[in-house]
Symmetry: C2
DNA sequence: AAGCTAATTGCGCATTACGCAATAGGAGTT
DNA sequence: AACTCCTATTGCGTAATGCGCAATTAGCTT
């Protein structure tokens, strides 16, 4: 298999260098001097200067007051702000989502956090149904669903209290966790093992297993998981399901974080429903 | 006044074009085709193609599954995510903050939202013997401070309830608003007139006036305001103070949104009092 | 004030990126 | 299914562009 042919498509050198500068400065914890940039790119100081100047001109870089070195400017922030990134998660995750639904043969969902709730932004059905499942767009509580708890995995008890309020949590089923301390304990377990479960804590007869999707720096940007009727989703399957869900969550995180695969790289083996 | 001398410093054409592509795609609500990019830059399709390819290669652009046109890729998002933007607000706002403190001759603060609190990230002192101390680093409640309410200006009653919880709000002083409905009403007023006040709602003997800092798309990213002992900060001054605070908040928002002024550009011509 | 380091500018050559034109890939039409 | 039109992609030669070198300026330290 011809893994990678030679760089068939030539790329624009100076643009590429400019992008490397952006990456380097975004990554650095301190302002970056011209010399460092020149070293990094292995180019002359004058070239680095002109590249940096071009970036600054468009607001992608700036200099701290009175300094000559560079930090990120407002443009990158502004562009990232106004963009609708939820679609990207859907796009990137969709293929993985389908794969997961097929492998496990249960409905799979992707959710993001939306205030005090988890919002289902995409789903894939188990048995070759073309239409998207009904729950896309639905809001469910964070504290009693697998997706919600996965999204809360890094949240400390302190923050949980602030987020969910001092009042008692609504008890949807007999399994619903209504105690913040218990929830915090569950979260730390979820964080450690990498996935969350919902044993009919929100809806009777519904079990769910979900894992947080983390990007490069560890931040949780969404969750992916599977749901099934309690009858079919017996505890003995948790281990196997958990592995697959975690693997997919990790893959999505890598795709979101990395820069190496946006093209090609379609897992073509997705079943055509 | 020598507004702008000729473009003394040459900029790198292809990098500049790449950045224009990023801006265009971030701004567009739908995926952008190669042809549109070529038209936008007034270059040949082949040139646009190679630029776009270079951007995609580094993850700054991507293509929807099966499509050939372009959307933003994960890199921009990732870089913006992991960067510590609060420093940028401090940096950009600092000069305005000092100016405000000098003009009004009271302590001025900048705050951002941090969960259920407002966090003071910078301050500038006035030259009164008795003045409000700079509280940089301090967390104060959102619902009973001028900064907090400015940060909440766009928040609907529904969201306020979710954020602040169903429980009663702590009553710090006799003026503290403890009723969500009343708070929502205050917020809509703040949104309309552009500034918030704190009439000793958090600390006795302390009055404050703050305005939300909004960027291009209207989103609130912080607040700026002034604080003074009640004795000195009489109601008759509100109107004049409000104007100045709002002007400064607006200036900061413009600086954050625009791309033309990151360097130099000290607002020297501001009226001195 | 001198001396050092780092940023900035001028300049000329070689590389690079550009436009043109040819090719490939898809979607719709007859 | 063959044809057609539209857009993406590739090859190529040229000249504009961006690069390194070296000179100049700016900011600091001694």
């Amino acid at each position: 298999m011809p893994a990678n042919k030679a760089p068939q498509v030539p790329f624009i050198q100076s643009l590429d260098r400019g992008l490397m500068i952006l990456e380097a400065i975004a990554l650095s914890k301190h302002p970056v001097s011209l010399g460092e940039l020149a070293d990094l790119l292995s180019v002359d100081r004058s070239s680095a200067f002109r590249l940096a100047h071009t970036l600054r001109r468009r607001g992608f870089l700036a200099s701290p007051a009175g300094r000559k070195d560079y930090i990120l400017g407002p443009s990158m922030w502004r562009l990232a702000q106004q963009y609708d990134w939820s679609n990207m998660l859907i796009r990137v995750a969709n293929q993985h989502l389908k794969l997961l639904a097929t492998q496990i043969n249960e409905t799979a969902h992707i959710a993001i956090r939306e205030g005090k709730n988890a919002l289902f932004i995409d789903s894939a059905d188990a048995n070759h149904v073309i239409a998207v499942a009904g729950q896309t767009g639905e809001l469910v509580p964070l504290y009693c669903t697998a997706h919600g708890k996965a999204l809360l995995a890094d949240t400390e008890e302190q923050e949980l209290k602030a987020l969910l309020g001092p009042g008692p949590l609504r008890k949807y089923t007999k399994n619903t966790i209504t105690n913040i301390a218990a929830l915090a304990k569950d979260c730390s377990l979820i964080k450690k093992r990498g996935y969350a479960t919902d044993e009919a804590e929100f809806r009777e007869e519904l079990r769910c297993l979900a894992a947080p999707i983390r990007v490069e720096n560890g931040m949780i940007v969404g969750s992916i998981g599977i749901s099934a009727p309690t009858s079919r989703f017996v505890k003995e399957r948790y281990r196997s399901y958990a592995e697959q869900v975690c693997k997919v969550a990790s893959d999505i995180g890598l795709t979101l974080s990395s820069v190496e695969q946006s093209t090609e790289q379609e897992p073509k083996e997705v079943v055509a429903g």
